[in-house]
């Protein structure tokens, strides 16, 4: 039988990862702990098989991630014997930057965007893998698979290299870097289908469970630790919820759901009426928010 679309997507992603291996000086994989990162990591392991992955994973920890994400991350890293770099913007921590005190925009900029730039400068990675997909959002539909960044980590939408066939231009001057997105051509459904087909482990937060939440601006937010500023007399509600995307817990909305298995999740997704990014609060800023963040160096 001829190759299915998943076979073709897998072959393409492995080809991309190996192309980096063959040409980059100091590559790393940005590992966000989410489902896309899980798939990307799985593909990297295939690309290297029977060897183990030779580059480090890098996690930019905003210090506000879900506890379960950190537990899962550490377990995966030890189970698979991987090399992990955790980077935290210590300056931001010292200044006490957080989503509750500084709002989502400043928090994301300082603890995520700035932290990422800091980490890239510190370790001088010349090529960094990211798990972004073109179907996620309009401005990403035009993103290259090999996306060139200036020495200031800037993305210039007007000045991206044309990408023909599967020949990638990996040339760069000193200090410049390339972000590589092996999952560019995957859709959300492809990702879930592949997780199911390959039994890839994912963070339990994707599955429904009774969790303590409160409602903020119409969105259910998990009370993940005692830094959560509850209103006077407020007690969290115990609800069956799960998460469709993962990030900083105060900025990630939970959805009411009883989906406890992968098949439940996929079924829910197929009949769902809201798209994946709705749970991400940072997207609501304005029409072209993602495009602006990318120009500023956000992945």
């Amino acid at each position: 039988m001829s190759q299915t679309h998943l076979d073709l997507l897998e072959a393409e992603s492995i080809h991309i990862i190996r192309e980096v291996m063959a040409t980059a000086e100091n590559p790393a994989m940005l590992y966000s702990v989410g489902k896309d990162s899980a798939v990307m990591l799985h593909l990297a392991m295939k690309a290297f098989y029977p060897n183990k992955i030779s580059f480090p994973l890098m996690h930019v920890d905003t210090t506000w991630k879900f506890k379960e994400m950190i537990q899962f991350r550490d377990k995966i890293v030890s189970d698979l014997d991987l090399d992990l770099i955790v980077h935290i913007n210590e300056d931001g921590v010292k200044k006490g930057v957080g989503p509750f005190t500084h709002g989502s925009t400043i928090h994301t900029d300082v603890m995520k965007t700035q932290a990422l730039k800091e980490a890239l400068d510190k370790y001088s990675f010349d090529v960094v893998f990211g798990g972004a997909r073109r179907d996620e959002e309009k401005s990403r539909a035009k993103e290259r698979i090999f996306s060139f960044r200036t020495d200031k980590h800037q993305w210039d939408p007007k000045n991206q290299r044309p990408e023909l066939w599967n020949i990638y231009n990996v040339k760069k001057h000193k200090g410049e870097s390339i972000r590589v997105f092996p999952l560019s051509n995957w859709t959300e459904l492809d990702v879930w289908q592949y997780i199911y087909k390959e039994s890839i482990p994912i963070v339990p937060l994707y599955f429904s469970e009774k969790r303590p939440v409160v409602k903020r601006d119409g969105v259910f937010i998990l009370v993940d630790d005692d830094r959560f500023p509850l209103d006077k007399g407020e007690t969290p509600m115990l609800m069956d919820v799960r998460f469709r995307t993962l990030g900083c817990y105060p900025l990630t909305g939970a959805v009411e759901s009883t989906a406890k298995t992968l098949l439940d999740i996929i079924q829910e997704m197929l009949i769902s009426i809201t798209s994946e990014r709705e749970g991400r609060i940072i997207d609501f800023d304005n029409l072209e928010s993602m495009e602006k963040k990318k120009q500023g160096g956000y992945f």
């Binding site: 539909a141 939408p157 044309p162 599967n166 098949l263 079924q267 495009e291």
Partner: protein
Amino acid sequence: MSADVEKYLIDQENKELLRFITCGSVDDGKSTLIGRLLYESQLIFDDQLSELKSTSKKVGTQGDEIDFALLVDGLSAEMEQGITIDVAYRFFSTDKRKFIVADTPGHEQYTRNMATGASTADVAILLVDARTGLLPQTCRHSFIVNMLGVKNICLAINKMDLVDYSQQVYDQILNEYLEFSADLNFKRIVSIPISALKGDNIISISNNTDWYSGESLIQYLENVNFNIDDEPQPFALPVQWVNRFSHDFRGFCGLVSEGSISEGDEVIVKPSNKRSEIKKILVSDKYSSNCSIGESVTIELADEIDVSRGDIICHKDSSCDSVQQFQGKLLWMDDEKMVPGRPYIFRFGVDESSGSVSRLRHRININTFADEACNDLELNEIGIANIALDKKIIMEPYTKSKTLGSFIIIDKMTNNTVGMGLVNFALRRDDNVYWHKMDINRNSRSESKNQKSVVLWFTGLSGSGKSTIANILEKKLYNLGKHTMLLDGDNVRHGLNKDLGFTDVDRVENIRRIANVSKLMLDAGLITLVSFIAPFRSERDLAKDLMGNDILEVFIDVPIEIAELRDPKGLYKKARSGLLKNFTGIDSAYEKPENPDIHIKSDKVSAEEAAEIIIKKLLQDSVI
């Protein structure tokens, strides 16, 4: 319930993947069509739909109706301008297939983006506005899609609602197109009357076109046979990366570009032509008895032979070959034009080499398809050229193998992708010119003169003092008993380069000849002083490429105002008055060297002092 989901997943898993490109002119309705396909295949979620409805009212062009184009127009600049300025990839699926759509702009100046989209497409949907019929862009796009080897064309005659669904209009456009495309290599052309805005013949057959008996657009996309490509080629695996696991495991990784192979089959490794057998095959991370085109594999060979990135493991019948000179078709994609002789990097799938266009045969006018004489290629121009690489690369004609016959062209300075190309055929000339090996070589010649031979390449504006300084320097070297030669721009132009003028093309050729003459002087063991304006960095790089470490770039730096004040030959005056065209510094650029080996500010030091500085450097480098 979850049994249903499981069945659904299994069905979904076995879908095929079809990549297609949509092309057409600016207002033919491409974005609207893709928006409609996404909408109809129900991949628009409710929150996207409500955002779309509100944006439609704000910036849409359809009044209170949904503007589907907004679903696909991503970047803010194009939302403002109302045109698509880059290739966007979109995804949707039906029960039978999954689709990746390359949405490409129709504007003339963005031809390069269309070629980008077409490079990975199996099918092209060509949109034509029923009211205007075929436009020059329609022909241009057909030409590019054809050049990139797309075999299936769907002519979607759009906006049928605005011509009262007239069969006569439809037939006329179709016939015109068939006549026009007869010379192209399309295997199958299907045409469909549609209205992307109203939805006619998109999903199901419309009652408005009862005279039409074919498929709807979606039916076409679900059923079209896109693997109609020719007979299967012999196996070829371009080696992308060598995976060394332990001392007894060497896996050769890559994406199979042609054919298929099984365990135990005999293979040849090119260019070494060593033979071996397939020992084991990993498809992704699973052992398999065979593998075929499109799979990412790791292959172990039975014998320990040397294989590295850029080599090709192939079946003995494969005709791919190691080639240094070839004829190709180029599409230029950069604002700075392509000039023959200028060095670029030619990047193939797994290998690359610097090289240059040795001869630009002609360009193709994509409105008339006529061959036209030309000296260079500008943005979006297509040309036929002979290309000379600095080393051999394994390739095939593009018509035989898209993977082994395609390349991109990279600018050496900016690292940008400035062009793309397809291999037409190999030129064998290089095989017949052997380097004559000589017993007395450059080292013996320079040693006998008690010096190291080197080229001192003086560059700077006219009037910067290059020739004056070079003259003094040569006298000093002569007095030290050194053997020298001075090549002066003006003098060479009287003899060897008498036939050359001052256009960009001639300047490149001028420098190429000088560089090669200097190389001969270098081999003769001489300290060679070359004094030319050499205004373009890329041409100086050409000289550096040729000479390697044996060239010192001497930048005689002077502000243009001072050079103009000196004006020893009265040339600036002539240039200012318009009597002299293409004069460096006035109406032709001078690109300063970025890292000259010797930097002399001739408005700060005398010519005598400058010569001393250079002597010092030569002593330092033990040249003298």
